[in-house]
Symmetry: C2
Subunit: 154 residues, 2 copies
Amino acid sequence: MAKRVSHKESLCGVARPLDAIGDWWSLLIVRDAFDGLRRFGEFQKSLGLAKNILSARLRNLLAHGIIETVPAPDGGPYQEYVLTEKGRGLFPLLVALRQWGEDFFFEPDEAHVLLVDKKAGLPVRRLELRAQDGRIVGAKDTFVRLPPTSPETE
Amino acid sequence: MAKRVSHKESLCGVARPLDAIGDWWSLLIVRDAFDGLRRFGEFQKSLGLAKNILSARLRNLLAHGIIETVPAPDGGPYQEYVLTEKGRGLFPLLVALRQWGEDFFFEPDEAHVLLVDKKAGLPVRRLELRAQDGRIVGAKDTFVRLPPTSPETE
DNA sequence: GAGGGTGGTTTTAGTTTGAAACCAACGTCT
DNA sequence: AGACGTTGGTTTCAAACTAAAACCACCCTC
């Protein structure tokens, strides 16, 4: 992992995360972790990927502090993989990915799973991006700006 | 592209999008497109990637209907690449990625670009996921559920 | 103490990536 | 007209990465 970070040492706020989870499997592992999976074998069975790849991905996610190992689940000799706070911070991204997928990758009549609010038992709303005053804003309503002093590249 | 879609023909709502944009560069291209870049050379200069790779990525994004080519910008003999509606639908995902990056990939004092609401000139709020009744919900407050009838795998 | 489940690592082949070179079309200067 | 630069790619080829399968080690049970 740790792909070419060559031409720009200080990656922008979009590129840095991609260096950590920018491959096909990592996000699926994180999603499964959100779904409660914890064990190597559970991930492997759920995702159907080769064990060496899963091993490498888990190592990478560990190295990035997205998951961590907890030594013993309930006495068993094995470790489990659980999301860190950083990993749990990926929830909105997963929701965004899921909603985009639902919008554009399914036939109108094609059934797909729904993200449901536990308390009400109803599907959640769409992700909302709001301005400080509460207006919902889209891409056209925003731009990126460097803060006062910044050698940042974006 | 079109990686292993072998062991499951009908990918879930998270995996399908990853098949379209689940590589390091594609999302960065889309972000640059949101920033107004349109020309091959602009993307290449901005991202610093090899031209063959850019060519392949653009082809892939075209094939997935995320960008499209428009024949002439203003008479020039070249084409430009612009986001389709599907591509513009990636905006929340990019915001989620950016916010996660800001949260966990920058030192507290490290400067980074901000996403600013044009109208007010202030940074936008965090992405919000709300239940139907307006409560903001997080990962712990939700679960995924299959709709009534569904052979979907997730 | 043989067999089976879990959690990996190693081996090896196939695929992808990417830098550099090449190429073609067009504009432009002289 | 013809040399030359710019744009937008494609081709070549070596290096890196991916992944299937085999292997291994540990523990448990019978």
